[in-house]
C-alpha cells in the first residue's frame, strides 16, 4: 500500500522536526475540508462571485484556420481575477487558513502571479501578508511587485542562492519555522512536502472538471490532446485531473530506464496529456528548466519532497533558465513525476524563441495576450499540429495573461516605441 503523501516513489514529507506539528495541523485541516460536503460549495461560490468561475472555453477559429486544424480550444484561466490560475489555489488555502484560525500568510513567488494572488486573498480575508521573491525575479516582474505592495503585502527581496523561485521557497520555509503559530505558508504549486501536492491539485482540479464538461458540450467530444505548461505543475495537474479517466496507457516505459530511451507509451483512443516545460535557450545548451523532458533531471530530495530535480551528481541544485519566471524552477510535482514514470503524461520542452513566436501569433490571431508561461503550452501545440488531422480537437490550458510580461516581451520583440517611452519616463523621474 502506498504511504500517504507518496505517488509511486515520489513525494513524502522531508521536513525539520520544528515544523512537524504545523504539518500535522495543516493535514488535519485539509482532511477536514475534504470530508465536509459544504466546503466545495463554499469554495465554488467564492470563486464564482469573487473571480470569474467557471472560466470560459474559447474556440480559436483563427488559429485553427491558420494551421489547417486541429480545432483549437483554449481554457481561459487568464480570465481569473488577478489574471492566472494561481487564484484557484490561493482562495482555497485562504478558506483553510480561516478554519485554522491563523492571522498571517506568507508565500514565495516567481513570476509574481502567485504573490499577487496571495496578497489579494490576504486583503480580502484580512490577513497580514509577506511575500518572498528572488532579486532576479523582482527585476523581471517589477509591475507585480508594485501591485503586491499596493495590496498591502510586504515583499521581501531574497538575495541568497540564485535569487529566483527556489530561493524564495527556502526563505518562506525559514520564516514559517519561526512563526508557525500565527502563520500559514501558502505554497503556490503542487510541490513541497505532503499535503501540499495533494491540496493544491485538489483546488486546481476545478479547471479540469469545468473544462471536460465544456469541451464535451462545445466540441461534442473529448480532445485528442490536452496541453499545459509545467513549472511546479499546478495548472497542468488542474486541467489534466479532468481527463485522467479518459487516458489509455497501453504500454509503460521501464522506470529503471532513467531518461535513456524514448517514452514507450502508446495511447490509442484515449486523451493524451502533454506537459510542456521550459526549454530555455535549448535543451542542448543546458540553460533550461526541463526536469522531465530533458535528460538532465534526476531523482532527489529537496525543499521537503522527493522528485526529479535539475541537480549535479553530488545533489547540488543547478541554475535553471527560462524567459518565463514562473517555469524557472529546479523541481517538478511529485504527482507529475509519477505520471511521467507511469506514462500517463508525455513531457516536452519549448524554447524561449518558440515561446515568443507563439505569444506573438496568439495575440495577432486571437486577440489574447498569453503569459509567457502559458505560451509554452501553445508553442508545443503549434509545433505538433502536423501530427494531427484537421478534425482533431485539442485543448490548451491558458494558465494566465501576459500583461505582467510587458517588459520582457517588449525587450524580446525589440519594440522601439516602448523603449522610447521607458527612456522618456526614466528621464522625467531623474530630472
Amino acid at each position: 500500500m502506498e504511504r500517504p503523501g507518496y505517488y509511486g516513489q515520489f513525494g513524502g514529507t522531508f521536513i525539520p522536526e520544528i515544523l512537524v506539528a504545523t504539518f500535522d495541523q495543516l493535514r488535519a485541516a485539509f482532511e477536514g475540508i475534504k470530508k465536509d460536503p459544504s466546503f466545495w460549495k463554499e469554495y465554488q461560490s467564492l470563486m464564482s462571485t469573487y473571480s470569474c468561475r467557471p472560466t470560459p472555453l474559447t474556440y480559436s477559429e483563427n488559429l485553427t484556420r491558420h494551421f489547417n486544424g486541429p480545432h483549437f480550444y483554449i481554457k481561459r484561466e487568464d480570465l481569473n481575477h488577478t489574471g492566472a490560475h494561481k487564484l484557484n489555489n490561493v482562495m482555497g488555502q485562504g478558506l483553510v487558513v480561516q478554519r485554522m484560525g491563523k492571522s498571517r500568510v506568507i508565500a514565495e513567488t516567481g513570476a509574481g502571479q502567485h504573490g499577487v494572488a496571495t496578497a489579494t486573498m490576504a486583503a480580502k480575508f484580512g490577513f497580514e501578508c509577506t511575500i518572498y521573491m528572488g532579486e532576479v525575479d523582482m527585476a523581471r516582474q517589477r509591475p507585480n511587485v508594485f501591485w503586491m505592495e499596493q495590496l498591502g503585502a510586504t515583499v521581501v527581496r531574497v538575495t541568497d542562492g540564485d535569487r529566483i523561485l527556489k530561493d524564495a521557497i527556502n526563505e518562506a520555509l525559514r520564516d514559517w519555522a519561526t512563526n508557525m503559530d500565527t502563520t500559514h505558508y501558502v505554497l503556490g504549486t503542487v510541490c513541497g512536502p505532503h499535503p501540499y501536492p495533494e491540496m493544491v491539485s485538489y483546488f486546481q482540479s476545478i479547471i479540469g472538471s469545468e473544462a471536460r464538461d465544456q469541451i464535451v458540450r462545445q466540441a461534442g467530444r473529448l480532445p485528442k490532446r490536452v496541453y499545459a505548461c509545467v513549472g511546479g505543475g499546478s495548472n497542468a495537474l488542474g486541467i489534466f485531473s479532468g481527463f485522467l479517466d479518459d487516458t489509455q496507457v497501453d504500454s509503460v516505459r521501464d522506470p529503471s530506464d532513467n531518461h535513456s530511451g524514448i517514452l514507450r507509451v502508446k495511447v490509442s483512443n484515449g486523451v493524451e496529456l502533454v506537459g510542456v516545460e521550459a526549454g530555455g535557450e535549448g535543451l542542448e545548451t543546458r540553460r533550461h528548466a526541463s526536469r522531465l523532458a530533458s535528460v538532465h533531471g534526476s531523482v532527489g530530495v529537496a525543499q521537503g519532497y522527493k522528485t526529479y530535480f535539475l541537480q549535479d551528481d553530488d545533489g547540488q541544485m543547478l541554475e535553471t533558465h527560462s524567459v518565463a519566471a514562473g517555469l524557472d524552477y529546479i523541481g517538478v510535482s511529485p504527482i507529475l513525476a509519477a505520471y511521467y514514470e507511469q506514462g500517463i503524461v508525455r513531457f516536452e520542452a519549448a524554447t524561449n524563441d518558440e515561446v515568443l513566436a507563439a505569444t506573438r501569433l496568439t495575440m495577432k490571431k486571437e486577440g489574447i495576450i498569453p503569459a509567457l508561461e502559458s505560451s509554452h503550452a501553445l508553442a508545443c501545440a503549434f509545433r505538433e499540429t502536423p501530427q494531427m488531422s484537421a478534425d482533431d480537437v485539442i485543448l490548451i490550458n491558458l494558465s494566465g495573461r501576459g500583461d505582467k510580461d510587458i517588459f520582457t516581451i517588449a525587450d524580446a520583440l525589440g519594440d522601439e516605441g516602448w523603449k522610447e517611452f521607458i527612456t522618456t519616463k526614466a528621464e522625467a523621474y531623474s530630472a
Binding site: 513524502g12 514529507t13 522531508f14 521536513i15 525539520p16 522536526e17 520544528i18 515544523l19 512537524v20 506539528a21 504545523t22 541568497d160 542562492g161 527556489k166 527556502n170 520555509l173 525559514r174 519555522a177 519561526t178 512563526n179 508557525m180 534526476s298 532527489g300 530530495v301 529537496a302 525543499q303 521537503g304 530535480f309 541537480q311 551528481d313 553530488d314 545533489g315 547540488q316 541544485m317
Partner: protein, 253 residues
C-alpha cells in the same frame, strides 16, 4: 561510543561544547586550521557540515558559508577526505551534518560506508524525520554510526516518545522555533522543554540554536550534557579570524 564518551567527559567537565564547521569555507585549508584552533581551545565534539545548495534549516550566516564553499567548488568527496584528515589528526568525536539530498544522491549505503572509513561517529540530517528514514537508519546501523535526531519545543509529548525510540548517541534539542543564527532567550520555558525531553529518554541531551555567550553555557550547565555553538563562531570567524574563534571557545566555559 558517543554516548559513553559524553557521559564520562561530562563528569569531568560539567558541560561539553560541540562546535560546527562548514567544510570548505572559505577553503579546505582554512577549514582545517579552524578545526585545529577549535580543538586546541578544548572543544569536546564537532559537527562537520557538508555544504548543500538548499539548506532550509540554516539561517543567513551558515547559509552564506554553504554557498561560498560550493561556489569555491567543494565536492562531497572532498568532505570525506577532509573528515579523514581531521579524525586522524584530532582526538575528539566528529559528526557529519548535512541535508537529505547529499546522503540520498551519494547512496545511503555508500555514504555511511565512506563516513565510517573517514572516522565519523554520528550524523545530523535535519530533513530526514524517522518516518522518511528507514533506509537511512538501516545504513547507519550497518556501519555503527549514530544517527542523531532533533527534538524541538513544538514536538508533542507523544511524538517525543516516538522519537526517543530512534535515539542513538544523544539527542539534539533546539532551544526555540526558527532556524540557526537567531537570538535565543534562555528561560524557564526552556527548562520545561528539557524536562519533557528527559522524561522520554535516558540519552544525553545537546542544546543548540542561539548559544553565543559564556552566560548561556553557564545557564545550561547541569541542564544538558552538551552546548552546541554554530553561527556565533562563524560570525567571529568572518569578522575577526581564526585566532579570535579559538579565544572565543576558550572563554566559553
Amino acid at each position: 561510543m558517543l554516548e559513553d564518551y559524553i557521559r564520562q567527559r561530562t563528569e569531568e567537565r560539567g558541560i561539553l561544547l560541540m562546535a560546527h564547521v562548514v567544510v570548505g569555507y572559505p577553503d579546505l585549508e582554512s577549514s582545517f586550521d579552524l578545526v585545529k584552533a577549535i580543538v586546541s581551545a578544548g572543544v569536546d565534539l564537532m559537527e562537520l557540515q557538508i555544504p548543500f545548495s538548499e539548506p532550509i534549516a540554516d539561517g543567513p550566516v551558515i547559509l552564506k558559508a554553504n554557498q561560498s564553499a560550493l561556489t569555491a567548488g567543494i565536492r562531497v568527496d572532498d568532505c570525506f577526505k577532509f573528515a579523514h584528515r581531521v579524525t586522524q589528526s584530532f582526538d575528539i568525536p566528529f559528526l557529519f551534518m548535512t541535508y537529505c539530498n547529499i546522503v540520498f544522491k551519494h547512496g545511503e549505503e555508500q555514504f555511511f560506508a565512506q563516513a565510517k572509513e573517514a572516522g565519523i561517529v554520528g550524523t545530523i540530517v535535519p530533513d530526514i524525520p524517522p518516518e522518511e528514514g528507514t533506509s537511512y537508519l538501516a545504513a547507519a546501523a550497518a556501519h555503527g554510526i549514530d544517527p542523531i535526531f532533533i527534538l524541538s519545543p513544538t514536538t508533542t509529548p507523544e511524538r517525543l516518545a516516538y522519537l526517543a525510540g530512534f535515539g542513538r548517541g544523544f539527542f539534539y534539542c533546539v532551544a526555540r522555533k526558527g532556524i540557526t543564527g537567531a537570538k535565543t532567550t534562555f528561560s524557564s520555558e526552556l527548562d520545561e522543554f528539557l524536562g519533557r525531553c528527559r522524561r522520554v529518554t535516558q540519552l544525553p541531551l545537546a542544546l543548540g540554536f542561539g548559544v553565543s555567550r559564556k552566560e548561556d553555557v553557564d545557564f545550561l550547565k547541569g541542564k544538558v550534557e552538551v552546548a552546541v555553538v554554530g553561527s556565533q563562531a562563524l560570525r567571529i570567524l568572518n569578522t575577526n579570524g581564526v585566532e579570535a574563534v579559538e579565544d572565543f571557545f576558550r572563554r566559553l566555559r
